[in-house]
């Protein structure tokens, strides 16, 4: 099955459900969130939610961050 996973093209092995995919990519379902085609999949549905060819999937977790964005540095005075 060909999917888009975290922004990259990805070809799965023997994967049916969200749970299968997480196992294949070696991600523990604890403390991650999964979105399929912009819809958040609740953890209790990981085993039953069946993925299909062409799905766009995001798997997110927490990283270090306080309060910053795509920061660019502004050094000059505005003319």
């Amino acid at each position: 099955m060909r999917i888009r996973l975290n922004g990259e093209a990805y070809i799965t092995g023997d994967v049916n459900s969200v749970d299968d995919l997480l196992k294949e990519i070696n991600v523990h379902s604890e403390r991650v969130a999964v979105e399929v085609n912009l819809r958040i999949i609740s953890k209790s549905d990981y085993r039953t939610y069946i993925l299909k060819d062409g799905d766009t999937i995001e798997v997110v977790s927490f990283v270090g961050g306080g309060c910053y964005g795509r920061q660019i540095y502004y050094t000059g005075n505005r003319v």
Partner: protein, 257 residues
Amino acid sequence: MEDRFIIRGIEFKSRLWVGTGKYRDFEETAKAIEASGTDVVTVAVRRVNILNRKSPNLLDYIDPKKYKILPNTAGCYTVEDALRYSRLAREAGVSDMVKLEVIGDEKTLFPDVCGLLKATEILAKEGFIVFPYTNDDPIIAKRLVDAGAAAVMPLGAPIGSGLGIRNPYNIKIILETVDTPVIVDAGVGTASDSAIAMELGCDAALINTGIAGAKDPVAMARAMKHAVIAGRLACKAGRIPKKLYATASSPLEGMLL
């Protein structure tokens, strides 16, 4: 004297909240957090690195049983993005709390308060405990609280600028305007800045760059811890009024002349 800090039934032991970005590595992050004495750490939501699953995860170093994890929407520039990140964070299962950021501009990282208000209203209705990162504007602070914010987080100065509390009078007005806790977020550069925030009457201060960017982040974390405690104690103690002229502190009685 008991001085408890409770928001929506959640009790916070520390009035210093810390960010987890910009550290050299996770070891340093963990040490600084420990030294700060905090029980609240804010984290960002990002894609899991699929290719390198061996890379360590922040939450391997910060025990969610020991610390309250406060997800943030750092890097979100639209209401839609902020909602999406908040919902993902909640689904990831650490908390209903969100430090809501809707950033308006890349140069200043000032909040887009119009978007912030919209996102606050929607998330509060969905049952989130929303802490919006906002401007030092009392009117917007009031609007955010009316929209369901559990606390407001006005900036002391732009994110990462270290300029301190640039408009203490506005912060003071915010404190008088809203009945929710007020947590200064952004701008604190050194210990005296956090003491000032607390002396004004703020309920807490959130600091990331001020600690992570210091030459010795662990030592600065310790300094911030004490400054926040000192500022809070001074606020509760009630400072003397400022006066232009001197007032003698020794008695005149018993002098030789």
